[in-house]
Assembly symmetry: C2
Homo-oligomer: 362 residues x 2
């Protein structure tokens, strides 16, 4: 039976850093990438955490991720950047671009950056958090592998294309939205398929383009692109607002892949064995260009309290503000966290080659 | 029985302009406001069209809309603006701010503007269209009267807070997303209540905070704030992604009302007989800061074609790109459009005082 393995959070990060270095990454880049990954586990977003290490390592080995790539600045103005990642590690490309964006916004009030030819960059919210740590507003969007079906269409054309925005608060927790524009990510279907449970009709469509409760069927269809896929938030058709989720997914693709003249839709992960050509959109807004940091933090506190003090629907226990759950998770997982035994084994399998060991804490 | 009245589109705009001037608006401001309103009818968004004239005129008379207000610039940098509308007409405040933003973005590549103390500004998409007309990317968000219930809450706290983004294409129609962050706007419930039809459970909640199919009950509850209201896109709870629509609605409130240190949530339309304190967020992005106008238009064409040529779900006829339907409507309504007989009568009732007549076309 599956069980969860407790590990030291710091040691997990060290382990991932070591493994990435052994695979040719510089110490600095490895540390950044490990931190992005472990921060996902800490927040409770396991799908984007260390469970992905194997895929990244395989990507490095097969040349999909190119650690020797030069990350090039194609266009630069005081408030914009267009960066070509050259197929480098997504976390490295996005981290460096966000760093520069933060500096620019500090000086010039705003910075918007598009990035093309990158790879999977982990959780979108990591980069918005970088802006929050500097007392500024962060934006992070990315396109991704085509798994989502446009409204009225049969086949998956766009990614789960997440939207992340962060706005600093004062005494309250910062606002940190980080959401896929599909109803759910693929991982939720994998869990349902494993357990043999039905999924709601708002999650996915079958090969005819109709809602289905059969998660395994959707995953099998997606694997061979037989039709169907994940639904945009709002579900099938227009009656429940599915065209809105679809429109937002396309918007993310445009800001990432069109503004950078990079890849969009089916072209993301479009060439087998080649770089995935993932595109990102990153942004930083300096509060000094508007009402100022103090006023904004204070108003955020006021608004967060207004939301959290709402009367509850019968049977409910709490109204959340975006990011609260993840911050609470991160705090709880600061010293130790648990990972699936299967992931623990895979990690040690990867480390084994270089005598790097991840230890279970009793 | 209700019927539709055909009018000349230009004459409808002249009529509205005249009426607004008679109520004390300058010729320039009246023309802008009329154009925003009629553009909504042309696009098929009647809820935001000339049907609102009575409400605007009443607002001017009662002092909620203050035509003598000074629209003040509180903060200005090369790429940002914070504007205080002083309670002036929303369309006038937003139009002038967007104009300035376009100039700034032309020169400095990006402009982001927040506006506080404004009023209802009509369709969000009008202002993104202004940027599109200049070959640039437009952003337009606004908060609005609290009608939407946060996830797990019982009462309406946030507005239908729309998101509009426009991105220029080449041969294809421009991308123009303009969507409320609720599943549907209040108008859809009014239609259902009038017809005595059930609404889907994804649209609204009752006074206990549970989904209901009874539109009249929701509207009655909202009128006296007895609990319940519209649902964020994704519906009730988290199972279908309702927390995403909620998060996006809050984001719009933050970018509009928090960044400007203006009103948010329950404070919008919070004081009876006083200015509504609506807040907006407007933005313009110059393609020259990224891949350039030609490359972006070309890639947009490529992407729009990819989406529109998707295989169709069984039983469906067409895959749309955001904005297509509205552009097609606007073209069809360029010379003539039809309005509800009830609206036609109300308009002539307003005009009657000043001998301004809107004529029906046979």
């Amino acid at each position: 039976m599956a069980r969860r393995i407790k590990v030291e959070t710091n040691k997990l990060e060290d382990f991932v850093t070591d493994v990435l270095q052994k695979h040719g990454m510089t110490a600095t880049d490895a540390l950044v990438t490990a931190e992005v990954m472990v921060s996902a586990d800490k927040r409770g977003i396991e799908s984007h955490g260390v469970a992905r290490l194997k895929r990244y390592v395989d990507g490095i080995k097969s040349g999909i991720i190119r650690l020797d790539a030069k990350i090039e600045t194609i266009v630069e103005t005081p408030v914009t950047l267009l960066v070509d990642g050259g197929g480098h590690m997504g976390q490295v490309v996005a981290f460096r671009t966000m760093k520069r964006c933060i500096e620019k916004a500090r000086k010039n009030f705003v910075c918007l950056a598009t990035v093309r030819n990158s790879n999977h960059y982990g959780i979108a919210g990591y980069y918005t958090q970088m802006a929050l740590d500097e007392g500024m507003i962060g934006i992070s969007l990315t396109n991704s592998a085509p798994l989502v079906v446009p409204t009225f269409a049969r086949d998956a054309v766009i990614g789960t294309n997440p939207i992340s925005f962060g706005v600093p608060a004062g005494m309250e927790m910062d606002f940190l939205l980080d959401m896929a524009t599909s109803t759910v990510p693929r991982g939720k279907l994998e869990v349902a398929a494993r357990k043999g449970e039905d999924i709601p009709e708002t999650w996915a469509t079958d090969e005819a383009g109709h809602p289905t409760t059969d998660a395994k069927r959707v995953l099998d269809n997606l694997a061979v692109r037989a039709g169907g896929g994940l639904l945009p938030v709002g579900g099938v058709g227009m009656l429940h607002g599915g065209h809105k989720g679809y429109g937002l997914g396309v918007l993310v693709d445009i800001l990432s892949g069109v503004l950078s003249d990079g890849a969009v839709g089916l072209d993301v992960y479009g060439k087998k064995g080649q770089p995935a050509e993932v595109a990102h959109f990153l942004g930083v807004i300096n509060p000094d260009g508007f009402a100022g940091e103090d006023a904004i933090r204070k108003k955020m506190d006021y608004y967060a309290k207004m939301l959290k003090r709402s009367a509850l629907a019968n049977g409910e226990e709490r109204v959340f503000v975006a990011g609260e759950k993840e911050y609470e998770n991160a705090e709880a997982n600061d010293q130790y966290l648990t990972i699936q035994d299967k992931v623990f084994e895979i990690l040690n399998g990867i480390g084994n080659e270089f005598n790097i060991i991840l230890e279970e804490v009793e």
